[in-house]
């Protein structure tokens, strides 16, 4: 019964619109705010569709325990956590295997963006808490974290912009929501890039893709990331750009 219903879902209709009315290359509504936590070195808050994610950066600071310090560069410790009420069933607050893997790949993605060699023997600790989720929370976490790093004044090559692309009902689409992620043929591919260099720093995929589908998906992801990059820059500008009015003294 339930199965039959699922098979009837049209993920992209004749007008090219998805279940939530978006076009295949359209992002969900995305709002980013930089610098909102008073006691962090830097912070950012992101609302992306139903995802609500807060990112905070402490450091560069002393590494504890000390033996984990790198005498040549700063280490990045990324902590992705989900609030117990952020998913349909209550999440166990203890970080699971998924949380640990996401923390690892997101931290590694940020390493390429930061001039780590300028801060040997220190740690840059990134804490991300997901308060509400609906597919794409890891890319929201990474996108927010890179704004938080910039807000902390940490020298960076570039921001990291990230988005998930995938396949639903045979269509390659940008920024899947949860209903789409549950499609029978769903493929989910989170991508994070340095938008000014087209370097890929995060890339995961699960599902069954053909090579042409990968080509299409990565092109769509790159395009989406550039759009996200603009919003990240806008968020930082909104906090730091002081417009001088005419006749006003500095």
């Amino acid at each position: 019964m339930k199965k039959e219903k699922i098979e009837k879902i049209v993920y992209v209709n004749k007008e090219g619109k998805r279940l939530d009315g978006r076009k295949i290359d359209e992002l969900r509504e995305l709002k980013i705010e930089a610098g909102i936590l008073a006691h962090s070195s830097g912070s950012a808050y992101i609302e992306w569709g139903q995802n609500k994610v807060l990112a905070s950066v402490h450091g560069p600071r002393e590494v504890i325990p000390k033996h984990r310090a790198d005498p040549y560069k700063a280490i990045v410790r990324f902590n992705y956590r989900m609030a117990t009420f952020s998913v349909p069933d209550r999440k166990n607050p203890k970080p699971g295997r998924r949380d640990i893997e996401i923390s690892k790949v997101c931290g590694e993605a940020l390493e390429r963006a930061i001039f780590l060699e300028q801060f040997p023997n220190t740690a840059i600790d990134v804490w991300v808490e997901v308060f509400d989720s609906n597919a794409g929370s890891r890319v929201a976490a990474l996108t927010a974290a890179s704004v938080a790093l910039a807000d902390a004044g940490i020298p960076m090559r570039d921001l990291v912009s990230a988005v998930a692309v995938g396949r639903i009902g045979g269509n390659i689409v940008l920024d899947l929501n949860k209903d789409e992620e549950d499609a029978d043929d769903a493929v989910d591919m989170p991508v994070g890039i340095l938008p000014n260099f087209d370097e890929i720093v995060l890339l995961q995929m699960d599902g069954l893709f053909s090579k042409p589908e990968w080509e299409k998906a990565i092109a769509l992801a790159m395009k989406g990331c550039k759009e996200i990059h603009k919003k990240q820059v806008d968020a930082l500008k909104k906090k730091y750009l002081v417009e001088q009015k005419e006749g006003e003294q500095k």
Binding site: V76, S103, K104, E108, R112, L194, E199, M205, F209, W214
Partner: protein, 258 residues
């Protein structure tokens, strides 16, 4: 970390400047692979994979359990990876760290997402009782590329795995109702990025020198089942394209051995 490995990493890089790998392999060449199946009698399925000097074993145990709430008529697999301290001076005992969790999850992803296993066949009573196939991987010697060695070992052990007989909701020890059949053979191919080179099946020395790691799981019908980029460096779209093409070609060699 031993200084000797730092020095070997330097040698890897200088050899690459002359277009060579330290062990003289082609960039798209695996080390020698040996696969032994059915090596442990108490396991429902088992395998040992030796990839160059890297050595891993896998064992399958079926356990009865309740289905996940969103998949009432499906059993499941659960992959675990143990980096035994006996395998390397760099490994420590204790609960799985992020390295072994990533390893297990990438191996899991290739097997699961390729739809190689029909989870419906692992259902005993809908909504009540299913088989959970625990595949546990143990690294016993670490000389680079645990990802591919573990992926091959997990696949080989599952290909041989026998499903235990169940009577009155309990497993009957030593009796089997048949083999677990897999519809596909997903093979993981892992590459190390060093400079601008992508090297298949990195050795330990090459892993010490790599800036980034990329793995792709492929199937015999030329589909891509999983990606994982790791470490702090970056890769380009061209790098990924090269890895995909190489993996589609070279994974066939491994499938022949299974």
């Amino acid at each position: 970390m031993s200084i000797i490995w730092e020095l070997r990493a330097d040698k890897v890089i200088s050899a690459l400047k002359e277009g060579k790998r330290l062990d003289e392999r082609a960039f798209d060449q695996y080390r020698e692979i040996k696969i032994a199946k059915d090596v442990y009698k108490n396991a429902d399925g088992s395998a040992r994979v030796v990839l160059g000097e890297t050595d891993v074993v896998a064992g399958v145990k079926f356990v009865l359990g309740e289905p996940y709430p969103d998949m009432q008529d499906e059993g499941s697999i659960c992959i675990g990876a143990e980096l035994l301290p006996l395998a390397s001076p760099a490994f420590e005992s204790g609960p799985p760290d992020k390295e072994s969790i990533e390893l297990a999850r990438v191996v899991d992803r290739g097997l699961r997402e390729s739809k190689a296993i029909d989870f419906k066949k692992l259902c005993i009573k809908e909504g009540e009782l299913v088989y959970l196939a625990f595949v546990d991987l143990y690294a016993i010697n670490f000389d680079g590329n645990l990802f591919d060695a573990c992926s091959i070992a997990a696949l080989a052990s599952l290909l041989e795995a026998k499903i235990p007989k169940v009577e009155e909701n309990k497993i009957v020890a030593g009796e089997y109702k048949g083999k677990l059949s897999l519809s596909r053979k997903p093979v993981l191919s892992t590459f190390a990025k060093i400079g601008t080179n992508m090297l298949l099946d990195p050795s330990l020395a090459e892993e010490k020198a790599m800036q980034a790691r990329f793995s792709v799981a492929t199937t015999e019908d030329d589909m891509l089942a999983a990606f994982q980029k790791g470490l702090g460096g970056s890769i380009t779209k061209q790098d990924v394209d090269y890895c995909i093409d190489t993996a589609l070609k070279k994974s066939k060699e491994i499938r022949k051995l299974l």
